[in-house]
Every structure is written in C-alpha cells, then in structure tokens.
C-alpha cells in the first residue's frame, strides 16, 4: 500500500513535468504584442508579430513579450525659461511604438529602460526647443488667425495695451512640436523606437511670474472699465446736447410759424376791412361817421361833463324847431 502510493505519486509528478514541458512548447502571442525568442539569452529568428498559438523549443528557449501597440510617454513637468526669459512649466507627452523589436530588445531589453531613455531624449529636446523660442511662439498655433472682437469693445482703437490683440508669431506651437519630434525621432530610431507624436500638453506660468501677469491683467481690465465709463459719460453728454438742440429747433420753428400765421391773419383782416371801407367815397364817409358815433359811446361816460351851446347840433334843432327843419351839419 505504502509503496504503491509512492509509485502513484511519482508517476503523477512525472506526468506533470512531461505535460508542462510539452505545454512549454506552445505559447500564445496576444494581439497586442510581439515575441522575441531567445536561446540562452540570445535572440533567435525574427520577432513573432503574428498573434495566435506558436511553437518553441522547450526549456532552452525563452519568450520575451514586447508590446506592439502605441505606448504612452508622459513627461514630468519641467520649469524652463523661454527665449524672452519667462519661466514656464512645460508638460509634454509622446506616443511611441516599438517597430524594431529585435533592436529594441538588444539595446533596451524592456520598457522601463525605454521610458527613461525617452525621458532623457525628449526632455532635453523640449528644453532646447522652448529655450530657443519666445513664449508666444509656444502658446500660439495659427499665425493667420484674427481674433473675434467684443461688440462692446468695437470702437476701442487697436494697440490699446494687449486688449483683443494676438501678438504675431513666426513659427507657432505645431512647428515647435514638430521640431522636437523630428530631432528626437532620429535618436530614438537607433533603439528601434518609432516616435509617432510629441505634444506640449500643458504650458503654464511659473508661480513667480504669475503675480506680474495678474497685475498686467488687472491694469488692462481697469483700462477697459475706465473706457466704458468715459464712453457712457460721453454718450450721455451727446444726448443732452442733442436734447438742447432739438428743443431749440422745435421751439424756434414753432415761434416762426406762429408769427407767420398771426401776421397772415392780421394782414388778411386788414385787407378785408380796407377793401370794404374804400369800395366807394360814401363807404369811407359812412365808416367815419360810424366810428365817430362809436367813439362818443366810449368817451361819454358818467364821469364826463358835457357843455352844450344852444348853438350845438343837438340843441340847434330845438332852437330852430319853429323854423323850417334844416339839415344837420355833418358830424365831426
């Protein structure tokens, strides 16, 4: 029983070892990777890039899996002065791929050493590129872009500080990124690395510079605020002036028209009267007489004292009552 148990145990162990060895001949290559087979540490044959089940010699051959995908490189943010001596924090990232697995394997062995090599090369190229250019070249991209202008600031003359103005550039961000990429790509190709893209992810002011930037922004805004206030006051004054003007125009025009109309009216009335009173000599005479009578009525009031001579027109009639009636003298 005891011996048989040992035998069974031994055969199980043996079976496992054989099975393992057999299974060790097979390996799966994942869709995302390529494999380099090494024999006692030395690469043999071409890298296997075809995914699926593959075969190798057991025990003496090892497999080394190497990623086939685009890989990330996320640089650590670095403080760099630009050409115009502004300290900025630049954070870069890159996409890269191992396109020559054998070279990569021989030169770098694994991804960790690749990352540190990328850090060295891309870091220094970024530093060089940033230090070679003014800040604005790193910030802006399209040198032809014209900024939209705020409707409210439409009539602010350009050149009033930096408000609404994009400083001109010569190269722009994309050119600088390309510059970094092309310089680094050559150096990385030696390691079997294909650099797809390098981008400046973040570009921010150094905290020491920020205060100065804020001060400038504040003074700029104050300028705009003052301009708005002054515009308001100016426009208000213009409206007040317009009011004076309109009032004077309206009132004087009305005065002129009123005087014209009244003059016309008086003239017309005078004409009508004159025409009537001069139509013939009798009319004039009759008018005189009527007006005299009217005047008597006005003049002779209860305050007046009348002295009549019997010779007068009124009493003349009385005196001559016995005599033959006579014509009245014309009134005067």
């Amino acid at each position: 029983m005891n011996k048989r148990g040992c035998l069974i145990l031994l055969s199980i162990v043996l079976a496992i070892v054989i099975l393992r060895t057999l299974l060790g001949c097979f390996f799966a290559v994942h869709q995302t990777e390529q494999v380099i087979i090494t024999q006692f540490g030395k690469p043999v044959g071409d890298p296997i890039t075809d995914p699926g089940l593959h075969f190798k010699l057991p025990i003496i051959q090892d497999i080394n899996r190497i990623d086939k995908r685009f890989l990330e490189w996320d640089g650590t943010p670095v403080a760099i002065p630009t050409r115009d001596k502004t300290y900025i924090h630049v954070d870069t990232f890159a996409r890269w791929r191992i396109n020559d697995a054998k070279t990569f394997f021989v030169r770098l062995r694994d991804e960790r050493s690749a990352q540190s090599r990328l850090e060295d090369i891309l870091g220094s190229e970024t530093r060089n590129a940033v230090a070679k250019h003014d800040l604005i070249e790193i910030i802006r991209t399209d040198k032809n872009r014209k900024p939209l202008r705020d409707e409210n600031l439409k009539n602010v003359p350009t050149g009033l500080g930096t408000i609404g103005v994009l400083p001109p550039i010569q190269y722009g961000r994309l050119k600088i990124e390309d510059e970094i990429k092309s310089k680094a790509a050559g150096k990385l190709a030696e390691f079997g690395i294909d650099l797809l893209d390098v981008r400046l992810k973040r570009v921010n002011y150094n905290p020491d510079v920020l205060d100065r930037i804020y001060q400038r922004m504040i003074s700029e805004r104050r300028q705009i605020a003052q301009r708005f206030r002054s515009e308001g006051e100016g426009e208000a004054a213009r409206i007040a002036g317009q009011k004076e003007r309109d009032l004077n125009e309206i009132q004087s025009t009305a005065y002129r028209q009123v005087q014209q109309i009244r003059g016309e009216a008086d003239g017309k009335a005078t004409e009508i009267y004159a025409q009537a009173y001069t139509q013939n000599p009798q009319a004039a005479e009759f008018y005189n007489f009527l007006k005299s009578m009217e005047t008597y009525r006005k003049v002779l009031t209860k305050d007046a004292t009348l002295v009549f001579s019997t010779d007068s027109d009124l009493f003349g009639l009385l005196k001559r009552a016995n005599a033959k009636p006579q014509t009245l003298p014309p009134a005067h």
């Binding site: 604005i136 981008r199 409206i239 309206i250 009305a254 016309e264 009759f286 002295v307």
Partner: protein, 338 residues
C-alpha cells in the same frame, strides 16, 4: 512562513496510513464519486464557457491571443481554460471625460481628473491666464483599434484633449475665451480632437466638446467684474440721458404744435371777424346810400339818446354867452365840450 505549516500537515497526512484509511472508509461506490466529479467539472466548464454581453456593449473574442470576432449583445459560448478570451466594451454608451473639475459618482474610471488645478489653468493667446473646465463626450466606435492599437487609449484621449484644448485657447484672446468665443472654441477643439484621435488610432469617436466654467484666475476676477460693472454704468448713463431727452423733447413738440394750432385758430378768428364786420358794414352801407342824411341823423340822435342819460354833468348855455367858462364849478374833472 505562515504557509509552511499547512503544507507540512498535508504531506504528513498523505504519509499517514490511518488518515488514508479513514478517508477511504465511507461505503460510497467509486462510480458515484466519479459521477459527481464529472458533473462538477461539467458545471464549471459550462459556467466558464458562457458569457453575456450587455445591450450597450460589444464583445471582442480572442483565441490564443489572436483576434477572432466581435459579438453582439446576448448569451454566447467560448472555449474554456483561457483558450478564448473575451473583452466586453461599452461601445454604445456615451462616455465622458472631465477636465479641470470633478463630478462625484462617476462610473467610467477615466472620467475624473487627477489634477484639476493643473488641468484647468491655461495661457491665452494674448498671454493672459484663464481657468478652463470642459467635458469631452466620446464613444468607442472601433473596439479592435481601441483594444489592440493603443495601450491605455482613454488616458491617451485625455492627453490629446488637453493638448488640443490648449492649442485652441492659445490662439484666442482672453475675452474670446471667457465671453464671446466659447462656441467657436468648442467647435475648433472638437475638430482638433477628432483629427488627433484618428491619427493616434484610438478607435474612439469624439462626439462633443463642451466648455463648462471658464473664468479668469481668482486674483483678477474682481477687475473683470469691474469691467462688467463699468459696462452697466455706461448703459445706465446713456439710459438716463435718453430718459431726459425723452422727457423734454416730445413735450416740446406737443407744445410747439399747440402754439401753431392756436395761431391757426387766431387766423380763422381774425378773418372771420373781419368778414363778419364787413358784411354787417356793407349791409348798413347799402341802406345808408339810399338815404344818407336821415340815416346819419338817426344814428346821431340814437347815439346821443344812449349816451346822454349816463353822462355825469350836462350844462347847456346860450350861444350869446361867451365868457362863461370862468364861473364853471370846476371839479378837477376833464371838461368835455360839445
């Protein structure tokens, strides 16, 4: 060290005959045990070889690491023991990345930001600083690319989104960024992100870029508010002036019209009166011409008859009396001689 005792124990167990004996003691037939084991194995097999793909997702099947097929939602079978591997991707779900801020309760692990402070601070094209928060909506539209062409595609999308947004912000003035250019920024950033996502073979489609809070830095916020206030002040001053204008001018217009109309009324009055006067005069004149003397006398006497009764003092003297005037009781009243 802690794992050693159980191993020792178990190896001791296998070498001890009594333990083996007690283990074989139950009178259960070997066939039954084998049957039970077979059933368990079958259940495990069945369990590990079927899987479901949710309605919003798509499954990508690999056999020995090689891409085999993509499968639609539903119940599916695969080869067990790691021969077939299935990755399920939520291809129909709108996924979201947040930049510069955090919404609690997310389900997508890539959604939140690690460093919102750093992410939202940007430099504008006129070298001002601004804080920009935004959201990117995307969908996985090529699961094969998403899984096999790029490692960590969501992080890549985050990186390129930040780069693209800064590119766009870097070409705009702070006023455009904060107020007038928001829509333009969303459109440009979206186009740029789509372009980069394609170039990086991410297998995602960027659907939307939405700007959230866009502010000047806290330190300069007050001066931006001051500009807004000044703008209000300007509108206010203009409104007040317009109010004054509108208060005075229409009234003056009305008053002018009033004066003109009154003058027109005066004209009518004058002319009508004149014509009336003349008409009455003409009528009387016609009669006068027929008998001038008697009419005159009549009018004279009528006038006297009306006037004399109301006149104060009346003195009648004979024509022969000449120098009477000195004895008149002069009362200081004007004398009327007739």
């Amino acid at each position: 060290m802690s794992t050693l005792p159980p191993i020792l124990e178990s190896s001791a167990m296998t070498n001890q005959p009594p333990a083996l004996q007690t283990f074989q003691m139950p009178h259960i037939p070997v066939r039954t045990i084998a049957g039970i084991i077979a059933i368990i194995v079958l259940i495990v097999l069945a369990w590990t070889s079927c899987y479901t793909v949710q309605a919003e997702s798509e499954g990508v099947v690999l056999r020995f690491g090689k891409f085999l097929k993509t499968v639609e939602p539903g119940l599916h079978f695969k080869l067990p023991f790691g021969v077939d591997q299935v990755t399920v991707l939520p291809t129909r779900r709108q996924l979201k990345l947040e930049f510069g801020f955090l919404t609690p309760g997310y389900t997508n692990v890539d959604q939140p930001t690690k460093d919102p402070q750093q992410e939202r601070s940007m430099v504008t094209g006129d070298l001002n600083a601004a804080l920009v928060e935004w959201v990117v909506q995307y969908r996985i539209d090529d699961p094969k690319q998403y899984l096999f062409d790029v490692r960590n595609p969501a992080q890549t999308l985050r990186d390129l989104s930040e780069a693209a947004m800064r590119e766009v912000i870097g070409d705009r003035t702070v006023d455009e960024v904060i107020t007038i250019g928001r829509q333009d920024i969303e459109i440009s950033a979206l186009a740029r992100m789509q372009e980069l996502a394609k170039r990086y073979m991410l297998g995602v489609r960027v659907d939307q870029v939405q700007l959230k809070n866009v502010n000047p830095p806290a330190e300069v916020q007050a001066s931006f508010n001051e500009v807004n206030k000044a703008q209000q002040d300007r509108e206010n001053a203009i409104n007040i002036a317009n109010g004054d204008y509108n208060e005075a001018v229409p009234r003056a217009r009305g008053q002018a019209d009033q004066a003109i109309r009154a003058a027109e009324g005066y004209r009518f009055k004058r002319v009508n009166e004149a014509e009336g006067d003349v008409a009455s005069f003409n009528a009387m004149l016609a009669q006068y011409i027929k008998a001038p003397e008697i009419t005159r006398t009549r009018l004279y006497l009528e006038t006297m008859g009306d006037v004399l009764p109301v006149t104060g003092e009346k003195i009648i003297i004979d024509e022969s009396m000449r120098n009477l005037l000195p004895i008149l009781p002069l009362t200081g009243k004007p004398l009327e001689k007739k």
